[in-house]
Symmetry: C2
């Protein structure tokens, strides 16, 4: 039950995203190897496409990209890969967008909260213990056993807000 001390910031507009991608794939490789999970060519490629940026991406978008690459792909192709990646903790599903985004710290037990910019589409993953404990408190009072939390905040990120101001 480890927990991050410093939740991720919103991805800066000018950050070096190539390192995000290579780092994510390296972590995924290592984690799967260690856990005996089979990160096949297809699954690896889907993960790579998801990590192409910090914007959650839809299943059919991914499907179209696979098809354009010449791969034989149908909806089950992509959904099965997404299932594997989610069960392995390598990606998250953003329920409010029906879209998928890479996990910032796979392998760690964490509740994820997402802040999603409605302008640029970027999503920041957080792991705020205060939110989690506030929910736990309510659950305790209700006698409710928590299985899964869906916490997604839509709005405007700092960068987009500054640019939209006259």
């Amino acid at each position: 039950m480890s927990r991050l001390k410093h939740p991720k910031q919103f991805p800066a507009a000018d950050h070096d995203h190539k390192t995000c991608i290579t780092h994510a794939l390296q972590e995924a490789e290592a984690y799967c190897k260690q856990q005996g999970l089979r990160l096949t060519e297809l699954r690896r490629r889907v993960l790579e496409l998801i990590w192409a940026n910090h914007q959650p991406v839809g299943a059919y978008d991914l499907l179209e990209q696979l098809t354009r690459e010449g791969r034989k792909a149908a909806p089950p192709t992509i959904y099965r890969s997404l299932d594997f990646l989610m069960q392995s903790g390598l990606i998250h599903r953003i329920t409010s967008l029906n879209a998928y985004v890479g996990c910032n710290h796979p392998g760690l037990d964490h509740a994820a909260q997402f802040f999603i910019c409605e302008y640029c589409g970027q999503a920041a993953e957080m792991d705020d213990a205060q939110i989690v404990s506030a929910i736990a408190k309510d659950a305790k009072r209700l006698g409710f056993t928590v299985e899964k939390r869906t916490i997604e905040v839509a709005g405007i990120c700092a960068h987009c807000r500054h640019h939209s101001e006259t």
Copy 2:
């Protein structure tokens, strides 16, 4: 910016639900009248069907019920009513279920959080200031302007857990 002091409890198994329904519809009538919103026959009926119980209900379920009542109804019929009811603050959409549930306190400015039992399907609406302020704190640190929060907790309610224990 009023806020409830005593968040609702999980609906008890044996509560008198008829009063929930009549109360909800009376409130809706009064609120719409006061706000100049047109709670038409169709919209009223859809709201009533949603309040039939405390389980979020899907759009196509509602559609089927309308059809069985002899009303001419197609998907747009129900989705337009749902849009009206949501915009008027009379119902909430449960994103993780693609389903709709009556609001417990329409007319009041409130962030809603839902605790949803995976066994009985019942949903409890809460308005926990601690959750809201924890999110606000994160948002402030990120420079993020919050527009909409989606907070849905799935799990097992006290009643169902007691019944599932050997």
